[in-house]
């Protein structure tokens, strides 16, 4: 097979930085190969793909050395539009990529730029739309689409150029499980038709259809091996903090040659290996009873009655549009717009009952951390951020409590720093600490795992674990079933505006097909062993 991507002595240093962000002595990819590129955030993955799609050196400033060749042609001698006819790039966040108002306009964006005649353009658009299965969305407005739908629109727009090489930079990080399944289904079909470079943290989902794994660390390629040989690299991957599916870890531990799930389960059964059972806490006393309804003008109705206990983590799962976020927003009093929806949700704690939609009163009981947690960081220092609630509510008796919270979230060394200038993980810790510092003992997190790599998700899991042990009630929305299985004590499944199932992760995943959920490999293996 021909080598379609070749890198030789490639070095790149970002403008204003002293450190080299990428150094690749030699690397190549053959035509039709499917390569998984992984590594922690900041390990050089994005810099690497930007060297391939020509963004480096043509658009991003810095010192670039060496040669990158695409189908034998040096990217220095090509312009980005020319490269983009061969190399298509799909990025992480669909909201940031889509700039047009309707799906049709967005998919037509690339062919319009290349001045392709209208008839030919229509053929290309039809083919791309059909390839990603979004025919039914053609005339829809892009701002009304779910993340998964929007990501497929972005993908269709890239496919109109019919690129022979397709780069997907964390394409499923910001979308729900249904959208994730659709993207992976598309990729599975594309194998061998195009050369695929997939940057992805969900290693478990990509492994079945890739040929090769490339692992980055500190701007260097640390592992470049065939998929089958990944068992040899498990220790290194673990050391780097990269998410490794449990079947691979166990295959390595049991000395197996393959990490096929059935094989691993068989071996576990034969060797009588005891898989760690995850403990599900039942909680202490009841901390919150939330009940009521939200009636949208558009016709959608949400109705529920749920009880939560302190010292537990509850995950709310379900498809987009099932009412998860509406339920959260209704609970915190954000749905009081008579033109959009009428909200009538009662919050009951052991001490009080709140019926009116007063945001500030509800905020005393429940803390809410939206997906875009940056939006709450309005103060100039972390210290001011933590003291904000008490300052505006006029309760100064929380000073020692706030110091304790700062310690709990290891924020002491950042107290005088601007919260918006911190790293993503640190910002989330500040936002969480600031929410708790306001006094609520019930914390609601809206999709905290979205867009997070394994390292950040692990930290998040540990943080909510600390809060749970401190007696807080944690309620979170997530599409990440591995995270939910690992950290939640209880799962509530939402569908059509109702809570249709409520139980431990084991009870819910047992019937996952009924609820349209994809159980994580950790559950599948434990269940499989019981059934062997």
């Amino acid at each position: 097979m021909t080598e379609v991507i070749e890198l030789k002595n490639v070095k790149f240093t970002y403008l204003g930085s002293d450190e080299e962000s990428l150094f690749i002595p030699e690397f190549s990819i053959k035509e039709g190969e499917s390569v998984l590129v992984t590594g922690l955030s900041g390990s050089g993955k994005s810099t690497f793909i930007q060297c391939i799609n020509g963004i480096i050196p043509h658009i991003i400033d810095g010192t670039f050395e060496g040669d990158v060749k695409i189908y034998g042609k040096n990217t220095r001698e090509m312009q980005v539009p020319e490269i983009s006819t061969v190399v298509g790039t799909l990025l992480q966040d669909p909201e940031k990529q889509v700039i047009n108002y309707t799906v049709n306009e967005e998919v037509a964006f690339a062919p319009e730029n290349f001045n392709i005649p209208r008839e030919d353009m229509i053929k290309r658009i039809d083919a791309a739309i059909s390839a990603v299965g979004i025919d039914h969305l053609r005339d829809k407005e892009t701002i009304k689409l779910s993340g998964g739908e929007l990501q497929r629109v972005a993908l269709a727009s890239v496919l109109t150029m019919d690129p022979k090489i397709l780069i997907l930079d964390e394409p499923t990080s910001n979308i729900d499980s249904e959208g994730t399944n659709q993207i992976f289904e598309f990729l599975r079909k594309e194998v061998r038709k195009r050369t695929l470079l997939i940057v992805e943290h969900k290693v478990e989902r990509v492994l079945p259809f890739i040929d090769r794994v490339v692992v980055f660390d500190k701007g260097r390629i640390l592992i470049d091996d065939k998929k089958e040989n990944i068992l040899n690299d498990v220790e290194m991957l673990e050391k780097l903090g990269i998410e490794i599916p449990e079947n691979i870890l166990l295959a390595k531990k049991l000395g197996l040659e393959s990490f096929d799930i059935d094989g691993v389960m068989q071996s576990i059964h034969e060797k009588n290996v005891d898989l760690k059972t995850l403990v599900r806490d039942k909680g202490n006393d009841f901390s919150l009873r939330a009940s009521g309804s939200v009636k949208y003008v558009s016709g959608f109705n949400l109705s529920f009655s749920l009880e939560f206990k302190s010292g537990t983590i509850t995950a709310i799962v379900g498809k987009n549009g099932s009412g998860k976020s509406t339920m959260f927003k209704g609970m915190v009093g954000w749905m009081d717009d008579v033109h959009t929806a009428i909200s009538n949700i009662t919050l009951e704690t052991p001490d009080q009952t709140i019926k009116e939609n007063n945001i500030a009163n509800r905020g005393r009981i429940v803390g809410y951390l939206p997906q875009s947690f940056d939006l709450m960081l309005i103060n100039r220092t972390v210290k001011q951020e933590l003291h904000y609630s008490n300052k505006v509510r006029g309760t100064n008796d929380m000073v020692s409590e706030i110091n304790r919270i700062a310690e709990l979230f290891t924020l002491n060394e950042y107290m005088n720093r601007d919260p918006l200038m911190l790293s993503q993980g640190q910002r989330r810790r500040v936002a969480m600490a600031a929410t708790i510092a306001g006094g609520p003992r019930i914390i609601m997190l809206d999709e905290p795992t979205s867009g997070q790599d394994y390292y950040h998700k692990k930290n998040l899991g540990e943080e909510i674990g600390i809060l749970k042990r401190a007696g807080f009630t944690i309620i979170l929305i997530s599409h990440d079933m591995r995270f939910v299985f690992k950290y939640a004590d209880r799962i509530i499944v939402m569908d059509g505006g109702n809570a249709v199932a409520d139980g431990t992760p084991e009870e819910i995943f047992e019937k996952s097909e009924v609820y349209g959920l994809r159980p994580p490999v950790e559950f599948t293996m434990r269940r499989g062993i019981l059934n062997v």
């Binding site: 990025l91 990529q97 658009i125 500030a360 803390g367």
Partner: protein
């Protein structure tokens, strides 16, 4: 010493000038309402079917007419353009929000201008000017640039000049509400506006919706954390305003963090790859556009006629 009553009334009047538009914008319209009149939503009435080029020409013509004719022509045109909102998607609601928006502009403009109008200006504007003083400000208000007295003529003059902008705003909002950013910008491309400017505008127009959504979220988070909870409900609009100001930086930073990805996405899809662009949808002119053109021509004829009749934007004003 100033009379306490005078001081209190003066400050209340001043606060009304600042507070009333804020109250209308943040409480009556709200960020969601503001979003409704600044973004496109799909529908199918004659305004949606009219070519954006024609709508741009109509807005320019309205601008021309209101700036060259007497104030009440501007007022009539404002009412006429606003009445067209009823034909839009969710028309009654849009008419309501649009009217509130225009009222807030009028109140803001009158109160932002009247206290500063000098007697010499009023002398020029009104023949045989005899000031009808309706309020005398405490002398320390001069620090704010206020004239010593507020006259009926100053209010009248400010009211009249406010209508110079309202019809244009109402018309421009129709353009934004009935065309996608892509349609508008395709039109600009035909007017030979550089592609880089077009792209910036296109991203900006799409971002408006996100800015308002995120800002709304940031305001609600601050309210949840207790902002304004110690104070009276009547001061709520002021705290909404404070929350909006405080929320601006995190909102903009949140949006800017994705700016790099937007740039990469656009560049890797061949933006500016060729000098000419082709379009999947044709921007054709049909019968409906000719009818609107007739209305535009009639507006121009009316403008010329009323100027000949002495109702041009001349001084004196009445």
């Amino acid at each position: 010493m100033y009379d306490l009553f005078d001081t209190i009334i003066s400050w209340l009047v001043l606060i009304f000038g600042v507070g009333a538009p804020l109250f209308i914008i943040f409480r009556a319209i709200g960020i969601k309402g503001f979003r409704e009149i600044t973004v496109y939503s799909k529908y199918n009435t004659f305004l949606y079917r009219t070519n954006p080029v024609i709508k741009i020409i109509m807005t320019i013509t309205i601008m021309m007419v209101v700036t060259t004719s007497i104030w009440w022509i501007g007022a009539i045109l404002t009412a006429a353009v606003l009445s067209l909102y009823i034909t839009l998607e969710n028309g009654k609601r849009k008419l309501y929000i649009g009217s509130l928006f225009i009222i807030s502009t009028l109140v803001g403009s009158i109160w932002g201008y009247a206290p500063f109008v000098t007697f010499s200006t009023l002398n020029t504007v009104f023949p045989h000017f005899v000031p009808d003083v309706i309020w005398t400000w405490p002398s320390y208000f001069a620090v704010l640039g206020y004239q010593h007295t507020l006259t009926l003529q100053a209010l009248e003059y400010s009211f009249q000049i406010s209508f110079r902008s309202t019809a244009i705003m109402a018309s421009a909002l129709i353009l934004v509400m009935t065309n996608t950013p892509t349609q508008i910008l395709r039109t600009l491309h035909k007017f030979r506006v550089p592609d880089s400017i077009i792209l910036s505008l296109m991203v900006a127009m799409r971002t408006v919706s996100f800015v308002l959504q995120y800002l709304d979220e940031s305001i609600k988070i601050q309210m949840m954390r207790g902002l304004g909870s110690k104070h009276s409900k009547f001061l709520k609009p002021i705290f909404y305003f404070v929350a909006a100001l405080q929320g601006l930086v995190p909102t903009i930073i949140h949006i800017m963090r994705g700016g790099k990805d937007t740039g990469i996405s656009v560049d890797t899809r061949g933006f500016k790859a060729t000098k000419k662009r082709s379009y999947v949808e044709e921007n054709s002119i049909d019968h409906l556009d000719y009818y609107v053109l007739v209305v535009i021509v009639m507006l121009v004829i009316m403008d010329v006629t009323i100027n000949i009749m002495g109702f041009g934007r001349v001084i004196p004003y009445n």
